[in-house]
Symmetry: C2
Subunit: 246 residues, 2 copies
Amino acid sequence: MTEIVSAAMLVIGDEILSGRTKDKNIGHLADIMTAIGIDLKEVRIVPDEEDEIVAAVNALRARYTYVFTTGGIGPTHDDITADSIAKAFGVPCEYDAKAYAMLEESYARRDLEFTEARKRMARMPRGAEHIDNPISVAPGFRIGNVHVMAGVPSIFQAMLDNVVPTLKTGTRMLSAMVPCLFGEGLIGGPLAEIQKAHPDTIIGSYPKYGDGKFWTELVVRARTQEALDAGRAAVEAMVAGFAEAG
Amino acid sequence: MTEIVSAAMLVIGDEILSGRTKDKNIGHLADIMTAIGIDLKEVRIVPDEEDEIVAAVNALRARYTYVFTTGGIGPTHDDITADSIAKAFGVPCEYDAKAYAMLEESYARRDLEFTEARKRMARMPRGAEHIDNPISVAPGFRIGNVHVMAGVPSIFQAMLDNVVPTLKTGTRMLSAMVPCLFGEGLIGGPLAEIQKAHPDTIIGSYPKYGDGKFWTELVVRARTQEALDAGRAAVEAMVAGFAEAG
């Protein structure tokens, strides 16, 4: 039996939508999810606006096994993710005693003032559990099926490393790539027939273009080795047929 | 008077969600939109599934001035964007005579067979207008406020260059960056006060981390030079105050 575990990602931040910062987290999350057998089914990028965050979180958490958010959990006025997630869950956003103590101790040790702004990083929805931050102390958090993490890539990645072992994973999607020197226009018809004959595979065709030439990478994906092997053999035979004909 | 022109982007493709391909189009569209005064307000990435594409297109085209899609307009069975957009608009997806003739001529000139797969690229929703493709002939299209373009970055960029002159643009968002050697935890409180005192600006704080150190880039955005200058002066004065105190 194959169990499907699904996920969505919510990227929060004006700076991504303005182009000022180029997102590096979507591709990383996609790679990790694929590696552990969770299907990333949707990504949304929204601005630092409470209504937008609330609407997106509620739409995504209802549909997918897991939601992962990045961005907006720092100490400044535009960091409104914790409040927005609390609102989405209908719970208060308040100082978390453990996070507060941890941050207070960390700043005291470094002889830095525990400013109001820094205290903001201890706020989270009531009932949330910490996601440890080995880089800069201030934790992310999980509430329900929503995991709230930092936007700075190194911190996001470290937090995600802490989250992964807690996730239920599904049957990993296996994949095989068949290189193809022919363009999609030539192979498209036969490839569609192969897809029809192998309904337990997902066959993707990825056009490549460079130096004035087109080629194609054909990727067969399946959740069992048998289905994968059968689909791959059919695609390889088709490509070989074109090569002989050519 | 400042007119706000808004946009959303819909990235269509299993390969982005699996991590196999890393998106390069979101950042490019974001840069171009910011440069011409259109606010990119939302991005969604969805798989090659008709229902998902239809739902996302209909949600986005109702909310924003423009929608830009990338991906899924090639000749293979997994290229279902044209059909999905037609379904979203409730019109038939059919061979476009001009696109058909153009592709037929192009393949004839190159002595290549005009296969069924290649003919697929001439299909578009009834009533759509072409978006020229100077690289590989097969056009994108516009229907209503939705612009449908290729996913291959070089082709997407060339198509977008053809779309930009047709767009209504708004009052460009001006921005100024104030570098800050202090972390967000120190400046967060005063910065929030400045934001309150300058409601006609959007002040963003972008934490940077590297080599064990934190610093911050403070970005003031506004739609008039006056508002921008006033906001920037206040932020600069705050940073200078911390520098003297430090």
